[in-house]
Symmetry: C2
Subunit: 486 residues, 2 copies
C-alpha cells in the first residue's frame, strides 16, 4: 500500500485532521480498497514522523464516520461495501445540469426586478449619491440605542436563550399599538399586530395567503415594484392604474375588475408623491366592501410629513375589516434594523400567524425589546420630531435647488413628505442619458422607469435626500443641472 | 347643527387631535352632512372654551385629509360627495365574513403543526422545564457580544443607514466559509453562502424553488416536523422512512420513488439521535446523482458532539452538486439571534439569491457584523469548546440519572451529541400520561408523537438539557422517574 502523504504544520488545520482528510480522500478515490488493512498506528506514526496519538485521532475520526472498521486484535480496515462515487452504474447519469426548478422557481428566475438600491452596480466615481430610502447616520441617537441594547445583554436574562413568539415580542406589539393610535390614527389591539422581518416579509406571506395563480391585484403606477414582484412570483396579474397628484385613482377601477386585492400607499404615494384625500379613501373602502376585497395600505413613511400633521391612516376609517396596514422601522429608525409590522383585520389574524409560525420563527428578540423601550420611553417620538425637522429642511433645500438649477425642465409632486423627490423630465430629456451623464459628473441619480408599469414610461429620475448633508444636496443638484441642460 | 363634544385633557392625545377626530367621526357617521358649513374657528373656540389655534389646527388636519373644504371668505364646509360607508347600495354587501384564502392559505390553516416550544400552553407550576433547542444563558459571553455590537453602533458608520445585501454581509460569509472548512468539513466559497433569518427561512425558499404540488420529498421519521410543514404547505407529499440508530435508511428508499428532494440530519438525527455512517452517506449521494435529486443536509447541531471530533458534513464528500447545506447559529450562539446560513450548489445559487432578494431584504446588518467578528476573533471556537464541555457534562448527568431512575423502562440513542435525549418508553407507559403526570410533579417533558409520522407512534418523550443546570437535570429526572414507574 502506497501512502504518500505530505503533512504540513499549518495553524489552521491540526495534523490529525490533515491525515484524516488524506486517508478519507484516498478511500473515496478508491486508492485504498475496501477491506484493506491500514498500517498500525505505531508504524504509520514512525513512517510519517508524527506522534502515535495523532494517527490514533485520525483513525478514530475515520471510524466514527464509518470509513474504517477496527477489529479487535486484528487492526484497522477500510470499510467494505462503501458505495463510492466511482462504483457501479450510478456514475453514468451524473446530474451536473441545473436542478429542476418549480413553477415558482422559474418565475423567480425570469422576473424583471427593479435594480438594487445598494449602489453596487455603478462604477463611476460618485461624490453625491441620491440613493433613497436611506437614513442619515448622524441623526440617529446611537448612544441611547446602545444603552437599550445593553440592558438586555445581561447573563441573568433568559430571553435570548429561547425561541421567541412567532407573532413578535408582546411589549413591542403594545408599544406599536399605542404609537399607531396616537400618531397614525390606526386602531388596533396589540394582539392584531404581528412583527415581521421587514415589511417585505409581510407582503410575501400576504401574497401567498390571498393570491391564487391568475388572480388580479390592483396596483399603482408608478409604484412600489418590489411589492409587485412578490405578487407576480405567485402568478398574480397586475391591474395597474396611473396615479395622479392624489394618489390611487379609485374611480378608474374598471367596473368589470375581478380584483380582490389592492396595494396602495395612501399617505405619500410611492414613488410619485401625493396623498389620497378623504373622498378617494372612502371610495376605495366602498369598493373593497362591495368587491369583498382587501386593501394593503403600505404606510412606509406616513410619519414623515414636514408641514402640518401626518395624515391619518386609511385603516383608521375602515369599518369593514378590509384594510391590512403595513408599517416599517426602516425609514424612521434605520434600514439595516429589518423590522416591520402588520396590522391585520380579525379574519386574517389567525391564518397570518399560522403561516408565519410555519415559514419563520420570528424576529430577533433583542432588537424587538430595544425598539419597544425606544418607543415607550419617548425616544421614538423625539427622534421622529428631529427627523421631520432635518428631513424637512433637506427637502426644502433640494426643491429650492431643483427650481434654481433645473427650473422649467422638470416637474414634481409638491407634497412636503417622504425621503425623496421624483422629477419628471421635460424638453425631450432622456432618462438613461441623464442618469449616465450625472454619474460622469460624480452624481448618482436613480432612473424612474423601473417603477413605471406604463410603457413607454414618462422620463423621470428619483432623488433621495435623506442620506445626504445639505451641502451635498445643493452641490449634487447643481451638477445635475449642468448635465440636464446640455 | 348639534356639536356635542367633550374635550378631555389627556397626556396622550392633544386637544386639536381630539377635536379633529370627533369632527371626522361625525362626518363619517353622516351627522355632519356634506356641504354643511362648520362654525367659524372663533365661535367654536368660544363654545368649547379652548384656544382658537386649537380649532384651526383641527380644521387644518380635516382639510389636509379632504374631509372639509375652505372657501375663501365663506368659511369651512364639509366636503361634498364623500362616499360614506352608510351611502348607496354598497352597504348591502358588507363583507364581514372571512376573506377568501388562497389554496396555500387553506393548507396553512388546516395543517397539523407540532406544538410550540416556547412553553406557553402548559398551566401547571413547572420547576424543571426540559425544553429543547434552548441555550444556557450563563454560558454565553455577553460582555464580548456587547463590545462587538457597540463597535458598529457609532455615528460615523453608514452601514446601518442603508439596506444591506440580500445575500448577507460579506465578511460574515467569509467567516462562515472558513469556519465550515475547518470544523465541519464543508467546502465552499463565501459567495456560495447566503445568510438567512434562521434556517427556517432557507427551507421556505428552497421548498418554493424546488417543489411543485404533488411532488414527493423523502424525510426521516421521527423527524424535524417544522421542516415537513413547510414542504406540505406547498402541496408536497412526504415519503417518510423510519430511522434507526444510523439515521436515514437510504437502502429503504423504494426503487420506484419519484422523489427529487430528501431532507436529512446526518450528523445527529433529529430527534432520535444517531449519526449516518460513511456507507449510508455515500449511498445517499449515489441515490441523488442517479435520481437527479437534491439533498438538504440540516446540520442544526453538528458542531455539538461531546466525544471525539464532530463528524464531517455530507456536503464535503458531495461531488455532484447535489447537497444543500443548512446551518444555524441558534444552537451555538442563542436562538433569539435568528441567524442561519445555507451553502448552495452552484446551479441553485442564482435562483436562491434572486428569490431571497424578492421575498426579503436580508438579515439585520448589525447582528451579522457582530457575528462575523465573533467568529474571526476566535470567540466562536472558544465558545464552542465551552459549550461542548458544559453540554457534554449535562448530557452525562442526564443519561446517568435516566439509568438510575428510569432504568429498564426506557431506551435511547447512545450518541454523545445534541441538546436533548429522546426516550422511548417501554412497559406499556403512555406518552400523554407521562407528560401530564410529569407536569403535575413540576417537570415539563415533551411528547415525541408530534415528531413521528408513523401512526401509532411508539411512545416517547424528549428531554432537552441545554437550558438547565446540573442540579435541575438530576432533580427533574428523579421526579420523572417517580411518575413513570407508577
Amino acid at each position: 500500500m502506497a501512502l504518500i502523504f505530505e503533512l504540513g504544520q499549518t495553524a489552521d488545520e491540526p495534523l490529525y485532521r490533515q491525515l484524516y482528510r488524506h486517508l478519507r480522500d484516498q478511500i473515496l478515490a478508491g486508492d485504498l480498497n475496501p477491506g484493506v488493512r491500514l498500517p498500525s498506528t505505531r508504524s504509520l506514526a514512525d513512517r510519517l514522523s508524527i506522534g502515535r496519538i495523532t494517527v490514533t485521532q485520525a483513525y478514530d475520526q475515520l471510524q466514527a464516520e464509518g470509513y474504517v472498521m477496527r477489529r479487535l486484535g486484528a487492526g484497522t480496515f477500510v470499510a467494505e461495501a462503501l458505495p463510492l462515487p466511482g462504483n457501479g452504474a450510478a456514475t453514468e447519469s451524473v446530474a451536473q445540469e441545473r436542478p429542476a426548478l418549480s413553477k415558482w422557481g422559474r418565475r423567480v428566475v425570469q422576473i424583471d426586478k427593479s435594480p438594487s438600491r445598494t449602489g453596487e452596480t455603478i462604477r463611476a466615481e460618485i461624490d453625491v449619491d441620491f440613493g433613497f430610502g436611506r437614513s442619515f447616520p448622524h441623526i440617529f441617537p446611537y448612544a441611547v440605542w446602545r444603552r437599550l441594547l445593553a440592558r438586555y445583554l445581561s447573563t441573568d436574562d433568559v430571553m435570548l436563550s429561547r425561541y421567541g413568539s412567532a407573532a413578535g415580542f408582546h411589549p413591542l406589539r403594545e408599544a406599536i399599538s399605542d404609537y399607531l393610535a396616537r400618531l397614525r390614527g390606526v386602531h388596533c389591539r396589540p394582539e392584531e399586530i404581528v412583527i415581521v422581518n421587514g415589511a417585505q416579509q409581510a407582503l410575501d406571506i400576504l401574497a401567498r395567503l390571498l393570491l391564487n395563480e391568475g388572480d388580479e391585484v390592483l396596483v399603482e403606477t408608478p409604484g412600489y415594484t418590489d411589492a409587485f414582484a412578490v405578487f407576480q412570483v405567485y402568478g398574480a396579474k397586475l391591474g395597474a392604474l396611473n396615479v395622479d397628484e392624489h394618489g390611487f385613482p379609485v374611480e378608474a377601477i374598471p367596473p368589470q375588475s375581478k380584483a380582490r386585492l389592492a396595494f396602495v400607499t395612501p399617505a405619500n404615494q410611492f414613488p410619485h408623491g401625493g396623498a389620497m384625500p378623504a373622498e378617494r379613501r372612502l371610495a376605495l373602502l366602498q369598493w373593497a366592501r362591495k368587491a369583498q376585497a382587501l386593501i394593503i395600505e403600505d404606510d412606509y413613511d406616513g410619519a414623515l410629513r414636514y408641514e402640518g400633521q401626518p395624515l391619518a391612516a386609511l385603516q383608521g376609517v375602515d369599518e369593514g375589516g378590509n384594510v391590512i396596514y403595513l408599517g416599517t422601522f426602516s425609514k424612521v429608525l434605520f434600514p439595516a434594523l429589518r423590522l416591520g409590522y402588520v396590522v391585520l383585520p380579525p379574519a386574517l389574524l389567525h391564518p397570518f400567524l399560522k403561516a408565519k409560525s410555519i415559514v419563520d420563527r420570528g424576529a430577533p428578540t433583542l432588537t424587538q425589546a430595544a425598539v419597544a423601550d425606544f418607543i415607550t420611553e419617548g425616544h421614538f417620538e423625539r427622534h421622529l420630531r428631529r427627523l421631520r425637522k432635518e428631513y424637512g429642511r433637506r427637502r426644502e433645500i433640494l426643491v429650492a435647488a431643483v427650481e434654481q438649477y433645473l427650473g422649467a425642465n422638470v416637474s414634481y409632486a409638491a407634497e412636503p413628505a417622504g425621503l425623496h423627490v421624483m422629477l419628471y423630465l421635460h424638453s425631450g430629456l432622456d432618462e438613461g442619458q441623464v442618469v449616465a451623464n450625472s454619474a460622469e459628473a460624480g452624481v448618482r441619480v436613480y432612473p424612474g422607469a423601473p417603477y413605471h408599469l406604463q410603457k413607454p414610461a414618462p422620463p423621470s429620475i428619483l432623488l433621495g435626500f435623506s442620506g445626504l448633508s445639505e451641502e451635498q444636496i445643493e452641490d449634487g443638484v447643481r451638477r445635475l443641472g449642468t448635465v440636464a441642460s446640455n
